[in-house]
């Protein structure tokens, strides 16, 4: 491989160093990634749109910024954000002015975002290069990306399996070396679960850490934007770029974003030393029925490694974990049904106007035609749960149980536990169609991730090995605003397992994804369904 081709295999911080040394330009880095993304999109369907021209213009602007900083002196170069000139894959529910923003739904086909989301502005400030917009479950409702209005996504580890969801496109783009960085959103696991299933790092920040201005709303008391990357340091750098208070989202918190996110140690010894004296909790309720033995084995090995490196491991209890799923699937549909009421075909989006009919008939037709099956299911559930006579029994009851779930976490962290260690997903990537017929089976995919959303706290998923040749995700959960500590813990885990054989493996079917004449993910799914 030449230096340019090889660029796609480098992490963000490695690319940043080569950019600053002059070994690679942003244009070279961007072209290398665009080439792989375009070549593999037939087989993977990770991207809903690849914006080659815009990306190259942003790359040239980044190269110009770097040149200007060099002319000014060392301090100006040092002041540049590590994301400068580096490619990123953005989930297609984040507004990027002048481009599409479908949220994976046919009802938003043709919609052009009139403004930048807060996170988009922050990416532009940092000088990141947006390669395009990635596939996702419709309105972020799903755990497999099979509910996208624009076809499923293949997991590069096994093209007949799903990448997880809802941020399946961003996860796949990062796993398949289309970009070193990705942005997703996590309402019940939509960053961490696909990160686990694709062998990438994903961060669900504390609720309020990142402004939601300019993203398509799903469940507003839970949604958070967060990073994908191929290691903890890169995830930290991206979080640093997008986090912080924004007046246009009143739920974004005025909590300082630590600059130490940019100083997570690269040296293994220094990184591993974080573990000494730390108290890690193993929540008993996360190691129960439905977990694949191979997943449990990898998690136990990771826990052993953390203990050997100096951490104390303590079994803890989060007694209301088992009530999380039911609580989540009341709160989320209720909030979603209210948020999605805006899609009426009048101001934007798909519109059906029936001649001579009244406006209600137009709404019924527009929404019945534009939304897919899972979105309809959740709107129905939410409308029912909020309807007269049922509010107390469903929504209010769920909010009270939510308090109990949150208190479980509060008590564990107040007892001195620094970080909770758990599986991200009870299973590895599953085959197309495996959970599509039974909504409850699909919902169970998020059983280990959704409690952190209910409590509003932070979680990270890191790759911790393979089971049956497919990636397993290690989840770290911490108290509010603990992202820096979680990523230091994650970096420490990376350091103590740096020599593990599985770390050298690339996604097993990456070469197959180069075949632009083979089956698409939709064709694979249809074949498996037959």
């Amino acid at each position: 491989m030449t230096a340019v081709q090889d660029a796609t295999r480098l992490r963000g911080h490695e690319l940043a160093a080569r950019l600053r040394s002059g070994e690679l330009s942003s244009r070279e880095i961007t072209e290398a990634h665009l080439e792989v993304a375009e070549r593999q999109n037939h087989a993977l369907n990770a991207w809903l749109v690849i914006e080659r021209d815009k990306a190259l213009a942003e790359a040239d602007a980044a190269d110009a910024r770097l040149a200007a900083a060099r002319a000014e002196g060392r301090h100006a170069v040092d002041a540049l954000h590590p994301l400068l000139g580096l490619p990123i894959a953005v989930k297609d529910l984040v507004s990027v002015a002048g481009g599409q923003c479908t949220a994976g739904s046919r009802i938003l086909e043709g919609y052009i975002a009139p403004y930048d989301a807060h996170v988009t502005e922050r990416l532009r400030d940092a000088g990141a290069v947006i390669l395009g917009k990635t596939n996702m479950d419709e309105f972020a409702m799903g755990s497999s990306n099979e509910y996208s209005g624009f076809g499923p996504v293949s997991n590069p580890w096994d093209l007949d399996t799903v990448p997880g969801g809802s941020s399946g496109g961003s996860a796949t783009a990062v796993a398949a070396y289309h970009a070193p960085f990705g942005l997703g959103t996590d309402t019940g696991g939509s960053i961490r679960q696909p990160a686990a299933l694709t062998g990438t790092v994903g961060v669900k920040p504390t609720y309020g850490r990142v402004s939601r201005y300019g993203i398509v709303a799903f469940a507003s008391s839970l949604d958070q934007i967060g990073p994908f990357a191929r290691d903890a340091r890169d995830a930290a750098a991206l979080l640093h770029a997008v986090a912080g208070r924004d007046d246009r989202d009143s739920t974004s918190a005025p909590v300082p974003v630590p600059d130490d996110l940019l100083r997570i140690p690269g040296a293994d010894d220094e990184a591993a030393s974080w573990l000494r004296g730390k108290r890690l909790g193993l929540p008993a309720e996360y190691f129960v029925k439905g977990m694949e033995p191979g997943v449990e084995a990898r998690i136990r090995e990771a826990v052993d490694a953390l203990e050997k490196a100096g951490a104390t491991i303590e079994e803890v209890s989060l007694p209301h974990t088992d009530y999380g799923l039911a609580t989540y699937y009341i709160v989320v549909p209720a909030e979603a049904s209210a948020n999605l009421a805006r899609y009426d075909g009048v101001r934007y989006g798909r519109s059906i106007r029936l001649p001579g009919a009244d406006f209600i008939a137009d709404y019924l037709a527009t929404r019945g035609d534009g939304f897919g099956p899972e979105v309809k299911r959740r709107i129905m559930l939410g409308t029912y749960a909020l309807s007269a006579g049922y509010y107390d029994a469903f929504y209010l009851k769920a909010q009270k149980v939510r308090t109990l779930i949150k208190r479980d976490f509060d008590q564990v962290f107040e007892s001195g536990i620094d970080v909770l260690v758990a599986p991200t997903s009870p299973t590895v990537a599953f085959r197309f169609g495996a959970r599509i017929a039974d909504p409850v089976a699909m919902y169970l995919s998020d059983a280990c991730t959704l409690p952190a959303n209910m409590a509003g706290i932070a979680g990270v998923s890191l790759p911790c090995g393979l089971s049956d040749g497919l990636p397993v995700g290690l989840q770290l959960i911490g108290p509010p605003w603990s992202e820096l500590e979680l990523l230091r813990c994650g970096r420490a885990y990376e350091a103590i397992t740096a020599d593990a054989a599985w770390r050298a493996l690339e996604p097993a079917q990456l070469a197959l994804a180069d075949d632009a004449t083979g089956p698409t993910p939709a064709e694979r799914a249809a074949r498996l369904a037959a």
Binding site: S221, T327, K376, T383, V440
Partner: protein, 100 residues
């Protein structure tokens, strides 16, 4: 908890402004009842003394002065509407008219 009848499903679909086909209604009746069965688990918990959690980070009301600021250009806002007339979005009639 009481199950949803087919008529309930149709009523909720109307409230949600979703036109559903007969096969969709059939499927949803079974699926929604299956999901509602899962909700029953919550009745195991006595929550009579537990306050509800609507948001997790305990922010107080965020207020600002009511002053005009720059806004989006009219053409950018109108570009996504299905029907426009000058600087206006054409909406379906909601007060009578031929169809009412």
């Amino acid at each position: 908890m009481a199950g949803l009848t087919r008529a309930d499903v149709e009523h909720v679909a109307f409230l949600a402004r979703l036109r559903l086909t007969d096969p969709e209604l059939d499927r949803l009746e079974g699926q929604l009842n299956h999901i509602l069965d899962q909700y029953a688990k919550l009745s195991e918990l006595d929550t009579s003394a537990i306050p509800p959690t609507a948001q997790t980070i305990e922010l107080e009301n965020i207020l600002r002065e009511d002053v005009a600021g720059p806004s989006l250009a009219v053409e950018d806002v109108l570009r996504n509407a299905s029907a426009t007339d000058g600087d206006f979005i054409v909406v379906p009639p909601i007060l009578g008219g031929d169809a009412a």
